[in-house]
């Protein structure tokens, strides 16, 4: 057993009706690692994220974080333990400005009694986070309503919401999807910097090229099952992965 595993997924299974969305998937994530999860559409990647973060309850198996059982906890409690996620489709608060979008995580019980919560200047903290992930720090952009932002900014706002919770594990559910090549190029250094600051990152991604550039380890899923887990270089050579992705027999 890996001693510095911050997150352990143990044989989780989830069926929706007769379909096994996730079938006995196990995954160990060590501290400071970037783990990629790839797989064709409908292979159960997002369901796995939902299982880890408590949005979906598993039929069997469990998820542990630093020895503590996450399975059965409500989503907000798991977020309170510092394991946060972004959503595949951005979920901003449309009627609030970008800065006020961050007021919500800063008002959470995890942050409430620290700097940015009731202590210190919250607006500065919010603006710092926004700047860190690529919002212009000027008199205009952070105060625009979330409904006025483009897809690229909304994805960043998703990430900002996670960062405001000062997590130690971030699960990014298709952070790069829907972004242009140049927007992705701007995001990659941000993710790298987060990892260098000691954060553990799980990336669910369709953009394989960019993912392989970042990830230390990649897990491949197909029809709810884990079919491969290795370093990126070996994954690209794996026959079984080619088969799943390209349909080559």
């Amino acid at each position: 057993m890996n001693q510095d595993a911050v997150l352990q997924v143990k044989e989780v299974t989830k069926s929706f009706g007769g379909v096994k969305a996730v079938d006995k998937v196990s995954l160990d994530v060590s501290k400071g690692e970037i783990v990629g999860i790839i797989g064709p559409n409908g292979s159960g990647k997002t369901t796995l994220v939902n299982l880890i973060t408590g949005f979906v309850k598993p039929d069997s198996g469990m998820v542990l974080a630093g020895g503590k059982k996450l399975t059965g906890l409500a989503p907000h409690r798991i977020a309170g333990l510092g394991i946060v996620r972004t959503f595949q489709i951005p979920r901003p608060y449309h009627s609030l400005s970008a800065v006020k979008n961050l007021v919500v995580p800063l008002y959470s019980s995890r942050i409430m009694h620290t700097i940015g919560g009731k202590l210190g200047d919250r607006d500065t903290v919010a603006l710092d986070i926004l700047e860190e992930i690529g919002f212009e720090r000027d008199a205009h952009v952070p105060y625009k309503l979330a409904s006025a932002f483009s897809e690229g900014y909304l994805k960043r706002l998703e990430l900002a919401r996670c960062l405001a919770l000062r997590p130690h594990v971030i699960i990014m559910d298709e952070l790069f999807s829907g972004l242009s090549v140049s927007e992705i190029a701007a995001m990659i250094p941000i993710v790298e910097r987060l990892q260098m600051n000691g954060m553990t990152i799980i990336m669910v991604e369709h953009r394989v090229r960019e993912l392989f550039q970042l990830a230390h380890r990649v897990m491949v899923m197909n029809f709810g099952e884990k079919i491969a887990e290795d370093i990126p270089e070996l994954i690209t050579k794996s026959e079984i992965v080619k088969q799943a992705y390209l349909g080559v027999t």
Partner: protein, 335 residues
């Protein structure tokens, strides 16, 4: 023929008095304060200009409806809970203060606060199971409760059964009544407006926009929704408690559907999401309904026509319309 469209521009003084710049001149201060000031003063002088005791009575009833509309608007626009439980709130408030007054002989100064707090707790408890359900389902459940309660009271013959509880304490005179309810309406309106701009209100608005993201932000949304429903039902129960002492009587008719539907009409007419709008809406609709009594059986027809007209031609609501006229001027430009 060239096409024309209406162009709306902010008035210069609006731009000059935004935020802290309002204190740059007396005129700026006056401009920024005038809407609130006229609303408060307007509310306070209604009793003085009301032509007769009947109209003063109608004003107090309008304020009761205004409070219910306020509660509806708060829950619907700032928390995203469509609550048709106006009748439920008033019914619970009315019966608690009625029973406390008639069975235990407690004075009004005790029954009204107790009915507000205990009533809100009871309403919240009953609505708690449906809090995770969003949208129309919550509305239906909250609409059903008043029917349930009134039938239970009828069937079990408790709290006076179908006869109700007569002979409750009433306000000493109409002036006390008016100058208790109107300032309370004002305090609750501005208190709520303050609340929705605080962090607590921002979280509620975030829950309305996207509850999944709030869950993912380490915030227990059910707890926040519970608090919001408590606030909403406390306002409704307070209105109900006042109603018991206005009538000096408590009965099953105070669970009537009017208390659920009228606040929605008032909110739509006044402007959804403005908090002050629903008050203005209720203060227009309640007297209007009385004035139309002259038409006898046709009263409802005219009332419905006016309501439909207001909704069709001023969809945004009266208050947003007035705000726009105050802050902007319009002119036609060629496209």
């Amino acid at each position: 023929m060239p096409e024309r469209r209406k162009e709306r521009l902010d008035r210069g003084i609006k731009v000059r008095t935004e935020g802290i710049y309002a204190i740059s001149s007396w005129r700026g201060i006056a401009y920024a304060l005038l809407p609130t000031f006229s609303f408060v003063v307007g509310m306070l002088i209604i009793p003085l200009v009301a032509p007769s005791m009947t109209w003063q009575r109608i004003t107090t009833l309008a304020c009761i409806f205004a409070l219910l509309a306020l509660s509806f608007d708060f829950l619907a626009h700032f928390v995203g809970i469509v609550c048709l439980g106006g009748a439920f709130f008033t019914g619970v408030g009315v019966y608690i203060s009625g029973v406390l007054n008639s069975a235990f002989g407690l004075p009004m100064v005790i029954t009204i606060p107790v009915a507000t707090i205990v009533g809100a707790a009871i309403c919240t408890l009953f609505l708690l199971p449906c809090l995770p359900i969003r949208g129309i389902y919550f509305a239906i459940v909250s609409l059903m409760y008043p029917l349930l309660f009134s039938r239970v009271i009828q069937a079990l013959e408790i709290f006076g059964g179908t006869d109700g509880l007569p002979g409750l304490a009433t306000f000493p005179n109409i002036w006390v009544e008016l100058y208790f309810i109107i300032p309370m309406t004002l305090i609750l309106t501005f208190g709520l407006r303050r609340l929705v701009n605080e962090d607590f209100g921002i979280v509620l608005q975030a829950i309305k926009d996207n509850d999944q993201a709030v869950k993912a932000s380490n915030i227990n949304i059910t707890w926040y929704k519970t608090k919001a429903v408590f606030i909403g039902s406390a306002i409704g129960c307070f209105a109900g408690a006042c109603l018991a002492h206005l009538y000096g009587w408590v009965g099953l008719s105070l669970f009537a559907l009017d208390f659920s539907i009228f606040p929605i009409a008032a909110t739509v007419v006044g402007g959804v999401g403005t908090l002050v709008g629903p008050i203005i809406g209720a203060l227009i609709l309640a007297p209007l309904s009385e004035m139309l009594r002259a038409f006898g059986p046709l009263r409802v027809v005219f009332y419905s026509l006016i309501l439909a007209g207001l909704v069709v031609f001023k969809t945004e609501g009266l208050l947003p319309f007035l705000q726009r006229k105050y802050h902007q001027f319009e002119h036609w430009t060629e496209v």
